[in-house]
Amino acid sequence: MATDQAPRAAAYPHLTPGGALAVITLRNFTTYRRYWKLFLTGFLEPVFYLFSIGIGVGQLIDTFEFNGQQIPYAEFVAPGMLAASAFNGALLDSTYNVFFKLKYDKLYDQMLATPLTTADVARGEILWGQLRGATYSGAFLLVMLALGMIHSWWALLALPAALLIGFAFSSVCMALTTYMKSFQDFDKITLAQLPLFLFSATFFPITAYDGWLRWVVEATPLYRGVVLCRELTTGSLTAASAVSVVYLVVMGLIGLVVVRRRLDTLLLT
């Protein structure tokens, strides 16, 4: 029997932050084992965009210049979709799913009854959103490779770049989610998601914008992700990549701090 010897002091040192991260990821992985098909739709969406717009519409466009290189239009669109995969994937888990776990499933209350802390929960959940996004991006990168769209070893770094994009969006979106009152509030996320996807120089170059509008777009997070992936897959790195990396790291860290504080406020009352 489980219960027959006393004293019963806990004999195990509690988890390190890394251990906690691994266990929360194990929990999330276990719940998704049954639902792996859900991953399929998220992966296919950007592939369809690549085929329809990148390759389909691309046939109407002769040549295309990016950072001084002549590239086919499809190879311009593909890294945009790579970044968007990480973005959309991260959003899926860090918005609706987090909201459900927080308000209805009381999952975080369960976790906090154990030695886990709000910092552990914040890191674990953000990591999961990030991994989901990066899974889509990783699969998409293989599609690009199969289609012969990758000509540079720099493209290897597109995967860590996708992880970084996933981190930035996963943490900021989870932070926003902690302020949501009902599922209706998620309309606001959808409202932001589509324009970010369409106008972050995913389908046409940033030079299409003039003056202040261009500055605005350059300062949006998905644009930073898109330009980072594009410079990596085409192998034409500039200072813009460094700006993007710093931008996304800072964005993710701010989100992380906000999430932890919000979990303290909401759950440790």
Partner: protein, 304 residues
């Protein structure tokens, strides 16, 4: 195990717990009784090290929850009021993953998971989804889960609320076995029979303070009489008849449908009632229970 001095909890303007002193000793079953809103759950959350103390002193297992939260929680078992199971995991994984949250090695958690499935009589439901379980099964799973780390101190917030009598008795049985095994139990309840069955010592809380403290028997002796004579007369007569029996007991309480005479000898009261020519429609003598104490201390009106 637990030591509280002048413990307070406020939510903005509202004072849920207004300065309580509590000592819980190793191996005992300690109860918090009180109506809804008395501050029981707020107290439990502070003890569970998930709710910051607003004032006073609190030590759990000798540690301060403000600084040693994870170390305290590593040695606690918590069974919350509502079954907060992980609905996305099956029954077995609910135990296994929860055990892993404590940093218990895989092989050990696997072994304990099997033992606890047995303990909760859920072995043949191991692969079932949580939503397929009955209320009693969910409760047993929640309790089993709270034992995965072999806690020194088990906190049970209204463990049998919403269960049918069979499930309640089964659960009491299991809690009794845990107590025998040396686990310190802290229980909140508003079921008096539960408190009498399980608790060695208890406090009655009302509006954030402790109204009384002692063993169930002590409390009955202190706040009630040995027996209660219940006299039922015609509707509307009770108020006027109360004066005629007032001197027969230590106290008389008037209810809309009966008179309660608190006394050490109920039969004698009944005899005297008849001597005085009063003919109740129905009369019975029963032992005083914790419920009498509870109602005396916290009143009969609804708390919320």
């Amino acid at each position: 195990m637990i030591l509280a001095r002048g413990l307070r909890k406020s939510f903005g303007e509202f004072d849920a717990v207004r300065g309580i002193d509590v000592d819980v000793r190793r191996g005992e079953a300690f109860g918090f009784l009180g109506p809804n809103g008395a501050g029981k759950s707020s107290t439990m959350r502070m003890i569970a090290a998930v709710s910051p103390v607003s004032g006073g002193e609190l030590r759990i297992l000798g540690l301060d929850p403000a600084t040693d939260g994870p170390a305290i929680r590593a040695r606690l078992g918590v069974c919350p009021q509502e079954d907060t199971l992980d609905n996305e995991l099956n029954v077995r994984d609910n135990l296994y993953i929860y055990g892993r949250y404590f940093g218990i090695p895989k092989a050990v958690v696997r072994e304990r998971t099997d033992e606890l499935l047995e303990f909760a009589m859920l072995t043949d439901k191991a692969k079932a989804k949580v939503e397929e379980l009955s209320g009693g099964m969910k409760r047993r799973l929640t309790i089993a889960r709270s034992l995965i780390n072999k806690p020194d101190l088990l906190l049970l917030d209204e463990p049998t609320t919403g269960l049918d009598p069979q499930a309640r008795h089964l659960l009491w049985d299991q809690l009794f076995r845990l107590k025998q095994a040396g686990v310190t139990l802290v229980i909140t309840t508003h079921y008096m029979d539960e408190a009498e069955q399980l608790c060695d010592r208890l406090v009655v809380m009302d509006r954030g303070v402790i109204a009384a403290e002692g063993s169930p028997l002590d409390l009955i002796r202190q706040f009630s009489t040995r027996e209660v004579a219940e006299l039922r007369f015609g509707v509307g007569e009770h108020e006027s008849l109360a004066a005629k029996v007032e001197d027969l007991g230590a106290r008389v309480e008037v209810l809309p449908d009966r008179l309660l005479v608190y006394t050490d000898d109920g039969e004698e009261v009944l005899a005297k009632v008849h001597e005085r020519g009063l003919e109740p429609i129905a009369a019975l003598v029963r032992r005083s229970t914790l419920e009498d104490v509870f109602l005396r201390l916290t009143g009969r009106s609804l708390a919320d």
